[in-house]
Symmetry: C2
Subunit: 451 residues, 2 copies
C-alpha cells in the first residue's frame, strides 16, 4: 500500500536553523534609522529586541543552533509530516507528484509558533517581563500568546479592530493562553488615542497596531516588542520547515522541481524554501521557487524596490524592499496574513537576483483551489494557504499541457478552522475579487516615497 505521510522521529529533527544570508550572491542594502536615515546599529534596536535576536538579524553564520529548550517545545508538534497528496493529484489528473509540508499541526494551527517560541525564549533569557505585538487576523498573536505563556512572560496584543470584531475566536484563543488583547486603535497608547481623537470609528490597520505595540515597548525598559514576519531572524527561525522537508525527501525517491509558498511578509515562504535555495545556490539544483501573493496586494509582482517603512506611521527602520508604499491599504480579502505592503529585505534581494519567482492569484481562484483540496485531502486550508494551492493547480495544468512530469512541494502553512466564515461566504457566492489599477499602485508608491 502507498505511504502517504513521511515522518521524521524527534531524534531526526534538525538542531540548527539555516541562515540564508551566508549564501546570498547579492549584497543587501542596510536598514536605515527612521529619523537620521543613516545605517542602523545594534544599539538602535536594543530598546525593542533582546540582544541575541539583534545578533541573529545581522549574522552571516550559515547555521545557528536551536537552543535545547526551544527544541523541547518544538517537539509538541515537530517534526511536522510531509504528506503526499495522492487524492488531490488524482483530482487534478496531471503528470505531477504533489507533496505538502503540514504546518497546521501546531497548537496555534500554523507555522507561526516556529518563531514565536524562540523569540519568547530569548526574551525570557534576557529577563524581559512583558512583550507587545500586533496581529491582523490573529494567527501571529495566538502563536505568541502560547509561547509567552510558556515562559511566564506577560503579553499585550494589539489586534486590528476590524479583525477583532470579525474573528472573536482568535481573541478567545489568545485569552485561553493567558494573553491580553485589545482592539487597535486603543486608548492604551498615544498613537492609538491620537487616531481615536481624529476618528473614533477607525477600523484600525496593521500599521496602526504596529505603532501602538512599538510605542508601548519603547516606553518601558522591561518590555520588548515582537514581530511575526519580514525580519531576517524571523524568517530564519522558520527554516526548520524546509530543513525537515529536505530530510524527508531523502526518505523518498523524489526531489522537488517546484517549491511553493504563499506570501505575506515572507515567514512561511522562507521557511519552506530557503533550505531548497541553499541547494540551488551551492549545488546548482534546478528548482523553481515561487512566492504566491494575492492580486489585491501585489508587492512582488507589481511593487517597486525602494526604501520604505514597515508600518503606516513611520516608526520602524527603513528597509530596502519591494513595496506598495507604507500607506497602501489592501482590500479586505480573507487572507488577512497576506495583507502587508512590503516584502522585507531578504526576499526582495532574492527576487531581484532572480533566485525566486513571484505569482499573484485572485481570491476566488484561491478559494476554489482550497475547497477542492479540502474535499479530496480532507484538511481545510487557511485562506492564506489556499493561495499556494491555487499555484499548485496552475503548475499541474501547465505540466499537463507540456506533457512533462513534475514534483511539487508546497507549504501547508495553516488550517482554516478559525476562518470558516470565509468559506461560508465563498460557498454562498458572497465573495468577489478586487482588481487594483496600475495608477492606484503608482500613486501609493509615490506618495509613500521616503528618500
Amino acid at each position: 500500500m502507498k505511504t502517504k505521510k513521511i515522518f521524521l522521529s524527534e531524534k531526526e529533527m534538525p538542531t540548527q536553523w539555516y541562515n540564508i544570508q551566508a549564501d546570498m550572491p547579492g549584497e543587501m542594502l542596510p536598514p536605515l534609522h527612521p529619523a537620521t536615515k543613516q545605517p542602523l546599529g545594534p544599539d538602535d534596536l536594543a530598546p525593542l529586541f533582546p540582544m541575541e535576536l539583534i545578533k541573529q538579524e545581522v549574522s552571516k553564520e550559515r547555521y545557528i543552533d536551536i537552543p535545547e529548550e526551544v527544541q523541547d517545545i518544538y517537539k509538541i508538534w515537530r517534526p511536522s509530516p510531509l504528506v503526499r497528496a495522492y487524492n488531490f493529484e488524482k483530482l487534478l489528473d496531471a503528470p505531477v507528484k504533489i507533496y505538502y509540508k503540514n504546518e497546521s499541526v501546531s497548537p496555534a494551527g500554523s507555522h507561526k509558533p516556529n518563531t514565536a517560541v524562540p523569540q519568547a525564549y530569548y526574551n525570557y533569557k534576557e529577563g524581559v517581563k512583558k512583550l507587545t505585538t500586533e496581529t491582523g487576523a490573529g494567527q501571529w498573536g495566538s502563536a505568541l500568546s502560547f509561547a509567552a505563556e510558556y515562559f511566564g512572560i506577560e503579553l499585550q496584543v494589539f489586534m486590528v479592530k476590524v479583525s477583532f470584531l470579525q474573528k472573536p475566536y482568535r481573541q478567545f484563543m489568545m485569552n485561553t493562553w493567558g494573553a491580553k488583547v485589545v482592539p487597535s486603535p486603543s486608548t492604551l497608547t498615544e498613537s492609538g488615542r491620537k487616531i481615536l481623537d481624529e476618528d473614533p470609528d477607525s477600523p484600525g490597520s496593521l500599521g496602526i497596531a504596529i505603532s501602538e505595540a512599538v510605542e508601548m515597548a519603547a516606553k518601558d525598559e522591561n518590555t520588548k516588542y515582537s514581530l511575526g514576519s519580514v525580519l531576517n531572524h524571523v524568517l530564519m527561525h522558520q527554516t526548520i520547515i524546509g530543513e525537515e522537508a529536505l530530510r524527508q525527501f531523502e526518505k523518498t525517491d523524489d526531489y522537488p522541481d517546484i517549491v511553493i509558498g504563499c506570501f505575506g511578509g515572507g515567514s512561511n515562504f522562507a521557511g519552506i524554501s530557503f533550505p531548497f535555495l541553499r541547494k540551488k545556490i551551492t549545488e546548482n539544483k534546478n528548482t523553481r521557487v515561487i512566492a504566491v501573493e494575492p492580486e489585491s496586494c501585489p508587492k512582488l509582482t507589481r511593487g517597486k524596490f525602494q526604501y520604505d517603512f514597515g508600518d503606516t506611521v513611520g516608526l520602524t527602520p527603513l528597509l530596502a524592499m519591494y513595496t506598495l508604499g507604507h500607506q497602501f491599504v489592501p482590500p479586505k480579502i480573507h487572507a488577512g496574513g497576506l495583507r502587508y505592503h512590503g516584502a522585507g529585505p531578504i526576499i526582495s534581494e532574492l527576487l531581484k537576483d532572480k533566485l525566486i519567482e513571484a505569482s499573484a492569484v485572485h481570491q476566488l481562484e484561491s478559494f476554489d483551489a482550497g475547497v477542492k483540496f479540502a474535499r479530496s485531502e480532507g484538511i481545510i486550508p487557511a485562506p492564506e494557504t489556499t493561495h499556494a494551492i491555487a499555484q499548485v493547480v496552475r503548475e499541474a495544468k501547465k505540466a499537463k499541457e507540456e506533457g512533462v512530469q513534475k514534483t511539487i512541494v508546497f507549504n501547508f502553512s495553516g488550517h482554516g478552522l478559525v476562518d470558516l466564515a470565509a468559506y461560508d461566504q465563498y460557498l454562498s457566492g458572497k465573495l468577489h475579487d478586487y482588481s487594483i489599477s496600475q495608477e492606484e499602485i503608482e500613486k501609493s508608491i509615490n506618495s509613500s516615497k521616503v528618500l
Copy 2:
C-alpha cells in the same frame, strides 16, 4: 533529550479492529424491536444500515479486517501520536507519568472520522446514494461530511437547532465538505413538521434530530442512516485508537496503570480502552479503566440499568443499558457530545461486570483542567475532552497523597478550536455548574420506563 511523541509509521498501523464482544465475560441482553418488544433480527435493521455493518453489530469474531480503502483514508491522519505530557506532569507535581493519544489531528479535529470513514465506505460498497444523520455540537456531522464526500455519497445532516444557531462554524465546516445541514426540527420530515406545529420555537434535541434522520432514511430505499456512537460496530471502529496505543507503549518502558476517556455515547472511551481491557481480561493486566461523564448527565454513576430507547420519540430499537430515561433533557453544558441519556449495551455490561469504573465531574472543574492543559501542553482541548483531563488531575492528586507512582493514558478526543466561545465564557466567569437532584433522576427514569 526526552522523547515527547511516540509515532508509529504507516506500515505499523493496525490492520484490524478489535471486537470486545469476543472476550466479554457477561452475556448482553439482546436489542428489542421498538413495536413488538421481541428480539431484533438483521432484517429489522436492513432499512437503516448496510448489511456489513449489521453483521459487525452482532459479530463475535475477535478481530475484523479494516478494508484497504479505509486504511488508505485513515492514513490522512493515522497513526496518531501518543504524547508524553511532561509539562502537564510538572504542573501537577505528582508521581505520575501522563500520556495522551492525540485524536485531534484528524481533518475534523476529533476521533469521529475513525468510524465515519468505514461507515461511508460500506454504504458506498452496497450502492447507497444518500445518508442521513443527526448531530449535536457538530463533531459527528462534520466527520461524516468529510467521509461521505470522499465516497461521493450525498449527506443530509439534522443539527439540533440550538447548536445550529450557537455554532455556525461547524455548519460551515460541513458545507465546505459538501454536506447539506438543516436545523432540527425541520420541515423536511413528518416528525419535524409535527414538532414545529406544536412549538414553532422548539430549540430541538438530539432525540428529535435522530427521529428526523431515521424517518428520512426509512422512507427511501436508496437512503441509509448513520450513527456516530453507542452501537457496537461504531465502538469497534474506534478501537484503532487503543490498538495503536498498545503498539506505541511497546516502544516505551511503560504500560498504563490507568486508562481514561470522557464518556457521551462511548465511542472515544471504547476506542482507547477496549484493547487495554482485552489485556485485562485475557492476560490479567491490573489496569483501571475509567469513563468520565458530566455531573449534569450522569447515566453511568446515577442512572439505572434497564431497556430504553436510543431517541426521545421512541423509533429506535430498545437497548439494555444504563440510562437516565430517553426523555431526559440534559442541561446545556458546553460538552455537547456528552449530553446523551444512555450508555449503550457494551459499556453498560462492562460496568455491571466491574471491568470499568465511572466517574462524574462538573463543568467548571473540567474547564479548569482544560485551561491548565492548554497553558502547559499548548493544545486547547474540546470541552468533552476536558472531562478526561479533570479525571487525570484527580488521579494525580490521589497518587501524590498515597505516595505511589502511576502511569496514566487518556484519550485526547478532540481539539477545542471550534468551541472557543465556551472558553471565553469560562474565562470571563459566565459559566456555572448544574446539579441534578436524585428525585429528578428517578422521576425521569420512571417516566421513561418502557417494559
